[in-house]
Amino acid sequence: MSEPRPVLTRAEFQILLALVGGARHGYAIMKDVEALTNGALRLGPGTLYTAIKRLRAGGLIEECDPDSERRRCYRLTRKGRSVGADEARDLAQLLTAAHKRGLLPGT
């Protein structure tokens, strides 16, 4: 029987999305999330690291070798990539539904 998919918060999903581009340290993730959302979502250190802790505990991300400035970096695991893709698929379906119902202008 397959393991139930973890429920991701918005911040956690954005972190996974940021790490799709490769391993990053904490501050780089914060900047990436801000850029990805056009500044709509700004993570503080508290939100970032509590989310990182949860993602690591769930096996969605893992620590990797430190960068040149010896800062701890994180990268996606295979499970994290799969969970992130599922989440994105769900969001895409929601978006399609919103278009169909006229909640969003058609593409």
Binding site: G26, Y27, P45, G46, L48, T50, I52, K53
Partner: protein, 274 residues
């Protein structure tokens, strides 16, 4: 005091385990953030403090819920909750009856067992929240508690003896113990001690409401003999006279615990769900 030192102090809001793991990284991220965003200190600190408070509260909550469960504390908490539920149900019944009361109903007697059944149902529902093994078990527990309370209360009204009141509460305590033991708790001695404590707590929380229900809700019950726990709670009873009541309650709790301990331990050993 520099911004970094202020932030370091604020990091105390997180659990020690979290700080041990992420303190340095968070400080590093804060340092970089402060470097680029501190042109408006008010906005910056509002953002940082809001982030800290929300995330620390969440982190603390998660840390607490991840702690290993202590059966003694869990059980005591359940007993207190159950006793409060009894008191609440008793008061609700009294209020309902007085609200709808009509002179036509004068002299109408509602049997004590009916109160017991209703109170027991409320209690059973509260207790069954501990059960996570399916609706069948929950329904069974609620029904058992309801029947036990109905019988117990009828016996109390019939005899008005502390021992029978203790029996009713013993049934209640036994039910809660059953739930906890089903989770795999084997230390009988601690459990017995806890049951005595819980019995006294249950008496304290429910006796007043139970008596007011019997006296106020049932017109005939106002003449019923009530035992000394009422006075005991109001401390009007001289200490030497109250001691036998406390002793009886303690013995009831002890007996209840001893009688159910073996059964529950056996159930646990067999890995049987309740």
């Amino acid at each position: 005091m520099t911004a970094e030192r202020v932030y370091t102090r604020l990091l105390a809001m997180y659990s020690p385990a979290f700080r041990l793991e992420y303190h340095d990284e968070m400080l590093e991220a804060f340092r970089e953030l402060h470097g680029v965003r501190s042109h408006n200190p008010l906005t910056f600190w509002a953002f940082i403090i809001g982030d800290l408070v929300c995330s620390a509260a969440r982190e603390r909550f998660i840390s607490c819920s991840a702690l290993p469960k202590r059966p003694e504390i869990e059980w005591l908490m359940l007993c207190v909750s159950g006793a409060i539920a009894i008191a609440g149900a008793a008061h609700a019944l009294s209020w309902t009856f007085s609200y709808f009361y009509h002179p036509y109903l004068e002299g109408l007697a509602i049997p004590a067992w009916a109160y017991g059944a209703v109170l027991g149902s409320g209690l059973g529902v509260v207790q069954s929240t501990k059960l996570e093994r399916g609706l069948r078990s929950r329904a069974r527990l609620t029904l058992a508690t309801s029947v036990a309370s109905a019988v117990g209360l009828q016996v109390v009204v019939s005899f008005g003896e502390p021992a029978t009141y203790g029996t009713l509460l013993g049934g209640f305590v036994g039910g809660v113990q059953w739930l906890v033991f089903a989770d795999g708790y084997r230390r009988t001695a601690t459990w017995v001690l806890s049951s005595v404590t819980a019995m006294v707590l249950a008496v304290g929380a429910s006796a007043g409401a139970m008596l007011s229900t019997l006296r106020g809700l049932n017109p005939r019950a106002s003449d019923l003999p009530v035992f000394d726990i009422d006075r005991l709670l109001n401390t009007t009873l001289p200490l030497p006279l109250s001691m036998p009541n406390v002793a009886v309650m303690s013995i009831c709790g002890l007996m209840s615990a001893i009688l159910t301990a073996r059964l529950l331990t056996t159930m646990h050993a067999k890995g049987r769900s309740c």
